[in-house]
Amino acid sequence: MIRMNEAEEISSKQKQISVSEFFEKNKHFLGFDTLPRAVITAVKESVDNSLDACEEARILPDIRVEIRRTKGDELELITQDNGPGIPRDAIENVFGKFLLGSRFHAIRQTRGQQGIGITGVVMYSQLTTGSKTHVVSKIKSDSSAVYVDLGVDTKKNKAIKSGERRDIWIDDKTGNEISHGLRIRTQMKAKYQRGRKSVYQYLRMTSIVNPHASISLIVYDKEGSVVEEGNWIRTSNKLPRVVEEIKPHPHGIQLGTLQRMLREANDRRMTSFLKHNFSGVSPRAAKEILAMAEVEEGRTPKRIKAEEAKMLVTAFQTVKLLKPPMDCLSPIEDLLIKKGLSKAIDSRFASTVTRNPSVSQGNPFQIEVGLVFGGDLTSDGPIEILRFANRVPLMYQQGGCLLTKALEAVNWKSYGLEQPGGSGIPKGPAAVLIHLASTNVQFTSEAKEAVSYNEEVFDEIRKAMLEVGRGLKNHLKKSSQRKKAKEKFELVNIILPEISKKSSELLGREEPDLAPVITQIMNAVFLEEVLSWDKERRLSMCSITIHNYTARARAYTILAKWPESSETSMEFNPRGGRKEARGLWAWRLDTLDPGTSTVLEFGISGLTKGDWNEADIFFRGNGEIIGATKMDEALLDEQRKAEALEAAVEEVKIKDVTSHINHTKSDGSISDLGDDVPVSSDVTEFVPSANTDWFGMEGDEQ
């Protein structure tokens, strides 16, 4: 996000120099410095706007990008979405005004914070080709779409409209009338390039962190043949949560910002100014701040002098304040990261983590990490790093980015990835996604491509990496155990009987009894689990088989991890057992005699096919089980205690706040409220249909 004092700086500059001059001077950080980058930036501005608009209007986005090389270094870019469209009277403002002041007052996580905006595209087009940008906009409540050509008056910082008309908008692909959406067609000096820094890669990455979006790309050369094509279909119908706007937290306030806020304040007293314009400031804290800054409570904000403002900023850092609210963040959430990754990368294993929100200098932030391994990924090079800030891909300056540095600081060797030299980017068939969601992403430069150093953020990323790393390590250990077990089964069930048969035939002897031989060869208890999808019952099934290939009888308790949440439940469970902790179920097995086996089966509802790909199985009892991990009782105890605490906190909250909203489930349990996955009642899936009023809030009440 462009910091507020910078915004001021930029707008004051605007007054002094012409906008086009400003653009020319700053095109490196506006993203238009090279021809290949210009087209990426243009696509980015447009697609980010589309995603933001769809999210606000609760529409599942369908976005099309078309690029056509026209001549030499010029191309035509067409982007089209099914978003809410822009009302006729707002078009000039959206496309013509260089920097919309209002954008910088809201503190919340949006994509658009990171760029110059679509105006930059209109301006770039005009500066490099002299042409106008053609816009078609249709809002639901109008009967026809607005067609208009736009240019920018660089002296007045204002759009110039021409050729405006109204017409029915027919989709050139489907032939249907479009009820709402936006289409932009623009010419620009730019060059389409393939590879790691390309429009293709940008859209691929965007689709990963926006599993709710369908995005397509088609690129034509001068002759009209397709040179590149991409199609990423949505894997989830769940729109990201609506993020709340929050007021700034005093910990993150700089002097310039405070002075501007004071100047613009309508409050009559400083106490009410502090209470109403900041988050985390209680009446008591407001008094303390003022006392410490030696500012009288009854002073008028407009009259506060610079010296006093300075004292206030110092007091902000000293007085104990409440944390800012966290609902201004929109994490992608583990399961959706998995789905997003699976949309773009074919892999065998995915481990994802969404950390709890945290605060740095008054700014809430949240870290999410996903790791995929195996499958189509190549194993001979460094892993692919997919960096995102507020769901926007970061494609440049990988090496200088905090997200990369945090990844490099992890000892990946101990998690099963090669890491030459013990540090740096690991090698192997893996890709790591890192998402930083924050109300204030700090970048190293105005180019906004690399996140700058911040200890708290670094620490959170590291912790998240360690979590996915552990997941990978378990997966690798399990794969090797599974392979070993599979080999042993083949050995005793297929090869050994054949050796017995063949040698007996050759010698003309009786076949020996193989049971004692098998016990000697295996000499272990084996566990195999198979996950499957029961289409009829819509259950994710888990079947666990335990074989005792030892000479002694064995007794175990088997524990399985399952994706417990408010949406899932243990639907099929003939063996009973009991819940040990959140997401952990236990079954006591009958004594397993030597040479016998038993099967344990359960099914989970509330998931869709492919959601659950790997189960963790633990055991309690004497002797190892190949294919399961011994339960770490200390760790379990810790988890139980944490859960008990959370439950107690939630109980208090419920009594306090919600008498009208019933958060408890039908079985009366309240434990679901403590889930890592935030499930707020105001998030409703929204699928646009012909008779839905998408502009109003009716959708939320369905």
């Binding site: 090869i495 054949e498 050796i499 063949k502 040698s503 007996s504 050759l506 002897r509 020996p512």
Partner: protein
């Protein structure tokens, strides 16, 4: 491999059955089946004073059915046993390659690669003390070519003995040595030579023939075709034993050529169980030596990583544990260079026959 050492059909079948019996007996006792084999690596070959060649030592390895790979090997061994018995019964024989393809029908006992089937056949030779000829298995590779004034009698496919002079009755490619060179197939009849020269590369073999070297220096030339086949090594051994003629070996100067010589003179690691039949302890390494690279200022190539590793391994190979070999290997390591036989052409096509070989032969008392 005189007839007295060859086994009767029944003896072969009995030895094979002992292998199966070891497995069966163990299973009856409740133990995983297994096979006991000598370790087949350079760490387990030692000089046999009585035979004058390198043989396997006492280290044994156990192949048992506690791992999938080994269990498969055991099953394959039993399939081979059955296959050999069938061939003995029906009076047929097959090539190792044919057996590899036949194993396609053996289900879980089928071979993963040709190499694997060759190795298993060798394993069986070792544990049963039989030869693959006893098993009715033929190698795929053909033997060497010989040119020189020696006369042999070979029993052809019609069972007739034909007399062949390896200088006058053959074309430029020479007499092709059959895969079986035992008495029942090949007799050494007459010779008028002073020594035998074994040559690594075909190019050099043809150069010497074109230059008339065999007649001029009164020798028989044998083309080794790289690492020599069993029959090539066996015929050299017979010529040495029966005619008491010196054998000299002329190869490139690189670590792999040193190994070719070692397999001829001391016995190969892979066939150390039959070294006494195959190795010719009287053979001499003529060149090209590391000294020659310096002495003749030969064009040379840098040693590759594999070359360097091979040299390093040879330093600890008991077969090269003589002062002369250690010196040569260390000199080569120092130079970091290798040279081909044909690099002698630097001084013209006749240099090898006019200068190099006469000088080298003179050095070992075979001057002419």
């Amino acid at each position: 491999m005189s007839d007295s050492t060859r086994k009767s059909r029944q003896q072969v079948v009995d030895s094979l059955h002992q292998v199966a019996a070891e497995m069966h007996n163990r299973m009856q006792r409740g133990d995983p089946p297994r096979m006991t084999l000598p370790v087949r690596s350079k760490s387990n070959i030692s000089f046999d004073n009585r035979l004058g060649v390198f043989k396997y030592g006492k280290s044994k390895t156990i192949r048992d059915a506690t791992k999938l790979g080994s269990a498969r090997q055991l099953l394959r061994t039993l399939h081979i046993t059955e296959f050999i018995e069938e061939m003995i019964d029906s009076g047929k024989s097959s090539t190792l390659r044919e057996m590899y393809y036949i194993s396609e029908g053996w289900g879980n006992g089928k071979f993963g690669s040709q190499n694997e089937s060759n190795n298993l056949a060798e394993d069986l030779e070792i544990v049963t003390k039989c030869l693959r000829e006893d098993f009715k298995l033929r190698p795929e590779e053909d033997g060497a070519r010989i040119i020189g004034n020696i006369t042999v009698e070979e029993r052809n496919r019609r069972g007739e003995w034909m007399t062949i002079n390896c200088r006058d009755d053959v074309g430029d490619s020479g007499y092709g040595v059959p895969y079986n060179v035992e008495e029942e197939k090949l007799r050494l009849v007459d010779e008028d030579i002073d020594f035998v020269m074994a040559i690594e590369t075909g190019g050099m073999f043809d150069r010497l023939i074109e230059n008339g070297f065999d007649e001029e220096s009164r020798c028989a030339l044998i083309h080794l075709k790289g690492q020599p086949a069993r029959s090539t090594r066996r015929i050299m051994r017979r010529i040495s034993d029966e005619w008491k003629k010196p054998i000299v070996v002329f190869t490139d100067c690189d670590p792999w050529s040193f190994r070719i010589f070692a397999s001829i003179a001391y016995g190969a690691i892979k066939t150390a169980h039959i070294s006494e039949y195959l190795a010719t302890k009287e053979a001499t390494y003529l060149g090209i030596t590391a000294d020659d690279i310096l002495a003749y200022d030969l064009p040379s190539d840098d040693l590759s990583k594999q070359d360097t590793n091979a040299l390093e391994a040879e330093l600890s190979d008991p077969r090269f544990n003589t002062g002369w070999w250690q010196e040569q290997i260390k000199l080569m390591q120092e130079l970091g260079k290798k040279a081909e036989q044909q690099s002698l052409a630097k001084y013209g096509l006749d240099f090898v026959t006019d200068t190099y070989l006469p000088e080298k032969l003179d050095g070992i008392g075979l001057g002419y």
